[in-house]
């Protein structure tokens, strides 16, 4: 497997991987945050400022 670095330049591969990973992370995080108030409600995202009424273990610990 290490022979891949004889084919692809490590510097370019690192830069490309970093850019791709960052773009993918940003895209998926924003998709999840905007998907529903269940995940985005604390920012007022995802269809309203109302936070989901669903209580989770962390919610009960924080309150």
């Amino acid at each position: 497997m290490w022979k891949i670095w004889l084919l692809f330049d490590p510097r370019r591969a690192l830069v490309a991987t970093a850019i791709f990973a960052f773009a993918m992370v940003m895209l998926l995080h924003f998709i999840v945050l905007s998907s529903s108030p269940y995940y985005g409600g604390f920012l007022g995202w995802g269809g309203g400022a109302e936070v989901s009424a669903v209580s989770t273990p962390v919610d009960s610990m924080l309150s």
Binding site: W2, K3, D9, P10, T56
Partner: protein, 78 residues
């Protein structure tokens, strides 16, 4: 190079193996961080059965059945 041939990237086999070990270490570290992050988010807001499934657990539908099946599968795996 021991055989006198050059590679496309100019790396020797030793250099390629050294970089590869570092690359794999970074990849494993990334996976570990992602796993920890997902565990924390699961504690915060578990995505199965989801907001609708939790809020309307009494309602019966095909989707609820699918959610239940996934819960059973997760319980079986855990």
């Amino acid at each position: 190079m021991a055989d006198g041939r050059s590679t496309l990237t100019g790396l020797t086999h030793a250099e390629a193996q050294e970089f590869h070990s570092l690359f794999v270490q970074g990849f494993i570290g990334w996976i570990v961080i992602c796993f920890i992050a997902h565990v924390l988010v699961w504690f915060w807001r578990p995505w199965f059965p989801g907001a609708e499934g939790s809020a309307a657990a009494s309602q019966s539908s095909i989707m609820d059945n699918a959610t239940q099946l996934s819960q059973y599968a997760l319980q079986f795996l855990a």
